[in-house]
Symmetry: C2
Subunit: 594 residues, 2 copies
């Protein structure tokens, strides 16, 4: 069942069959209107490998006949349930299996959850071309250099309103506004019609860099008829609008004017507009700025080169000169907005920074919001800074941060502009996708045309229908230290068990059916190994239990070491449950001496 409005729009898409376009392989065609001939019986598959039912590792496949195009290749940061894991990548085995079909990759913007998974891809297969906004391409270029993967792909800059034809499909970059400079939505031109992919966005009508959201291009797609809208669900739980990035300026300026000592300020390293505003205010208040943190310095340098910010020579000083400056003449711009243990700000807060010691007259500004899961780390940093007497400006009510994602009212606006036939909420956890889906229905999308998908689900579009049709492999690859994909569920379960219940290990040696040494018991993360405590009592009992179990087994069924171990484990588990009421990981080794 479709509403009349939607039916009309879809017919309009079908009617475009007579239009023709010049097609050049891998060509960025200025002025190309992106119209692709409609092909009867065509089928398009839209497959998310990441970003569905989660925030992070956004990775999409658009598949048409024997062609695959990737949109974004992101990573995710580990949740609390993944102790010891550093980053999380999508399972890309479907891409590996089909690597010969891959025509290229389009980046929407330069955040890690959209580009951080590209290097791991290039380690597995070549990607003929990668298009992206200039800032994202510059950031990716650095990554490829670090990993010596430059020859695995060719990087191209995608410019606003440029349409790039790759194989049978074409992609138009539409400038949007987000918490990083150079962010884009995409219009994907297919033989079935146009797909609008919002990318990450908010409607910032007064952008700091004067680069306005290209509302017209999306509205035009809507007017011509949009088959499918894929859209950012991040802030669907919030009513109203996200304020403009510019709204932060006055509040920051106010705090800068009030500060009588040093200003220490942190934000997301990638938040180019925020950094630009901080540099502007630094200059206005007659201060100089020193930048701490490699990622932040890199962003500032690249952004200056690309013209996203301008500042006079001498405004940024070297960190070694900071302590030569008067306190009221210096701004310390640093990483650490998430309370990351190794970041400069965290080290300053906990007296572990080799150069900067927090003073009572310092003003510390945390111009960022904790990403879910980081609340505790950030709170700990604020507590430590407060304990040193610093004035700390942070948190929701300080109005020194705005989100980069659209709230409900903006999402409704996008739905109204694009008026898609099919709607696919993306970039959100399950509850957000559902809520966003309902918003789509409120805005006129047929409930049956809203798809709540999980990673790996295949949305198959044809000229008269859309349906979920099968699945491709999808999942998470957890990476710790330098190794990729060696961590699986078993290891995580063991870490959980060890981390919450601790360990008891037991060793004993038998020879010729007899115990020849006293059992050795070690406990870690379980009880203290002291004789004069409840624990001491337990250890005595445990030794007796082990010896009794061994003796009984040895008398009965001889020398099968596995049986002996199983028997000891069983008896010990009962004892631990009875005396300690815990379930530690139990390690029992019975050695046979010859």
């Amino acid at each position: 069942m479709s509403t009349d409005g939607n039916e009309k729009k879809v017919r309009k898409v079908i009617k475009r069959q007579d239009q023709t376009v010049v097609i050049t392989k891998g060509d960025e065609t200025r002025g190309f209107n992106g119209n692709i001939p409609i092909v009867a019986g065509a089928k398009i598959k839209v497959i998310p490998l990441g970003g569905m039912c989660e925030i992070g590792k956004n990775t999409w496949i658009i598949e048409y006949e024997n062609e695959m195009i990737i949109i974004d290749g992101g990573l995710a940061f580990p949740s609390d349930e993944m102790p010891g894991v550093e980053i999380v990548l999508p399972d890309i085995s479907y891409l590996i299996q089909n690597k010969n079909k891959i025509k290229g990759l389009f980046i929407t913007h330069g955040h890690e959850d959209h580009i951080g998974g590209i290097v791991p891809m290039l380690k597995q297969f070549d990607i003929p071309v990668i298009y992206g906004p200039p800032l994202a391409i510059a950031l990716l270029g650095e990554k490829l250099k670090d990993a010596s993967l430059q020859d695995k792909t060719t990087l191209h800059k995608g410019k606003p309103r440029s349409t790039i034809k790759l194989g049978s499909l074409a992609f138009t970059y539409v400038r949007n506004t987000h918490s990083i400079a150079d962010s884009f939505s995409l219009i994907i031109h297919t033989p079935l019609g146009q797909i609008v992919h919002s990318g990450d966005f908010k409607f910032d009508f007064t952008p700091v860099d004067g680069e306005f959201f290209d509302v017209y291009s999306l509205a035009k797609a809507g007017e011509e008829g949009a088959l499918l809208l894929i859209s950012d669900s991040t802030n669907v739980e919030k009513e109203g609008y996200t304020p403009s990035e510019r709204s932060v300026y006055n509040r920051l300026e106010e705090e800068f004017f009030k500060a009588t000592g040093r200003i220490i300020i942190t934000t997301f390293a990638s938040q180019v507009h925020r950094i630009k505003q901080i540099l502007d205010i630094t200059q206005k208040t007659g201060r100089k700025v020193a930048i701490y943190g490699r990622s932040m310095l890199l962003l500032a340098t690249i952004s200056k080169e690309l013209g996203h910010m301008t500042f006079p020579d001498g405004l940024i000083i070297n960190t070694e000169d900071v302590n030569k400056m008067d306190d009221d003449k210096i701004v310390i711009l640093t990483t650490g907005s998430q309370g990351e243990p190794l970041s400069a700000l965290t080290r300053m807060a906990f007296d572990e920074h080799k150069q900067i010691t927090i003073q009572a007259k310092d003003t510390v500004i945390i111009s960022a919001t904790p990403i879910p899961g980081n609340e505790r780390s950030v709170a700990n940093v604020v507590n430590a800074l407060s304990a040193k007497g610093a004035k700390v400006i942070y948190g929701r009510d300080a109005h020194i941060h705005v989100s980069g994602h659209a709230c409900k009212e903006e999402q409704r606006m996008l739905l109204n502009i694009v008026r898609p036939k099919y709607f696919l909420p993306a970039h959100g956890e399950y509850r957000m996708l559902v809520m966003h889906g309902n918003l789509g229905v409120d805005c006129g999308v047929d409930p049956q045309n809203v798809f709540i998908m999980e990673n790996g689900d295949v949305l198959e579009l044809s000229s008269d229908s859309a349906k979920l049709n099968g699945q491709v492999p999808a999942g998470i690859i957890m990476v710790d230290s330098t190794r990729v994909g060696d961590i699986d569920k078993t290891i995580l379960e063991q870490r959980h068990k060890l981390g919450s219940e601790g360990l008891l290990s037991v060793m004993a040696t038998v020879k010729n059916g007899k115990i020849i040494s006293e059992p050795i018991i070690e406990a870690k993360g379980l009880i203290l190994m002291q004789e004069d405590t409840t624990s001491g009592h337990f250890i005595t009992d445990a030794k007796k239990t082990i010896v009794d179990a061994l003796k009984a087994s040895l008398e009965k069924n001889g020398k099968n070491m596995e049986d002996l171990q199983a028997k000891v484990k069983e008896e010990l588990r009962d004892l631990i449950h009875k005396e300690l009421r815990r379930e530690p990981l139990l390690q029992v080794v019975i050695l046979e001496s010859k």
Copy 2:
């Protein structure tokens, strides 16, 4: 330096010396005005054992000469940094050392962070009398019964505006408003003047139970001259006012009217007013309610007995009858508002509840906010419920929950009413105490008269000064399962290490200076023990490293087992760092066979 206003008030306190009162030991004296003779050279110590630089385990000592009075005895819930810990208690060794001085304990209200530590106290020492609001006393009574500790104290109900004299001090109960019925502030009458302890509070001017905040009594204390204000800092990071509990009614009613299927609703078990409103709306919408969760049923029963809520017989039905009811006639009121793994709601969400299966037409209302640290668990429950198609009403923008604590404007109001000479922000993390302290200064307290204290700090008040003077033992006692205080820092550090880095354990046997069996290697939470992976390669290398290290040591310095173990550990640590770049807990046991 004091402001004139404060000086005047303090002089007024001093002038009260001529007043006399009838003093009866442990007596609740109606009409007693609480005035205590001012004693020249008197010193009062105010000592927090919990609740400072943290939210939780609120426990205070008021000490005068050889007398100690305890105010509240709370527990805290473990943070993420305390894996495997169930509850956290304050270190009460100072109380144990001085148990003969303890005259009694006053409870401000019945939340666990104010009464959950009393049973552990009573296991260590008797408390002659415990006064508390009727609801708190009823809840504590149940706890004492469960622990068979009824003979360790005597419970008394403290009524609004009643003043209780204990030893040389007296305590007046002043009704306030909070997220549990029967919540009180305390005025502590001392030989130096009056101390106002806010307890947990908000200013709810339209309380659901019609029991209004006794503003007059606190204002009177301010007018007479308040020496010290101890006040709740929980919501100091939020501007404005916390809305009245009553504001939730209309929103809940709206959702009840809209629901076409079952309504499943959760809130804090102790939120008597919320539960009362839920029962009222249940009746109004012609439904019946079944209550899941022991703590919630207990609260409802006790609250009805005490008159905090009234409802007709038959409104609450037995849980076994739920599935006989029409879906649009039933409300399921359940625990689980924090996503607790074993709670009824969590089990329903994850298909683990033996009776209730979530259906697409269910409306689930989470009328609570996640306590910091529980955000992920609650989000997981909402995701799971959404995935089952249930309509889930939750979160800040749903307006189906309000806090029980005062926001900034209310804290300013209390400061204005009480106009204390000294100000002690309490019930908050460090940053909150500092922020609340600044609020005090804004409201006229001399900056030098604001004290930011940590647990165990001693605030010593005398007739002309107040100062931090020394410390008593304070700290945390972590409790897991049934044992108290056996967990220390070492155990937690080991759990952390095991939980994030995993374990490698190695065993080998030597005899007469020779290795007589191949080393046994076990890894948990580290690598997979498979031969055909990177890990397999590592295991081969590790075995070689162990054998080489043992051989070299055995040749050199014979048979000291500890030296052998240390040597193997050192070599192995290098290998692990090189090949795995990790730092697991290493357990090496070399057995000597005779």
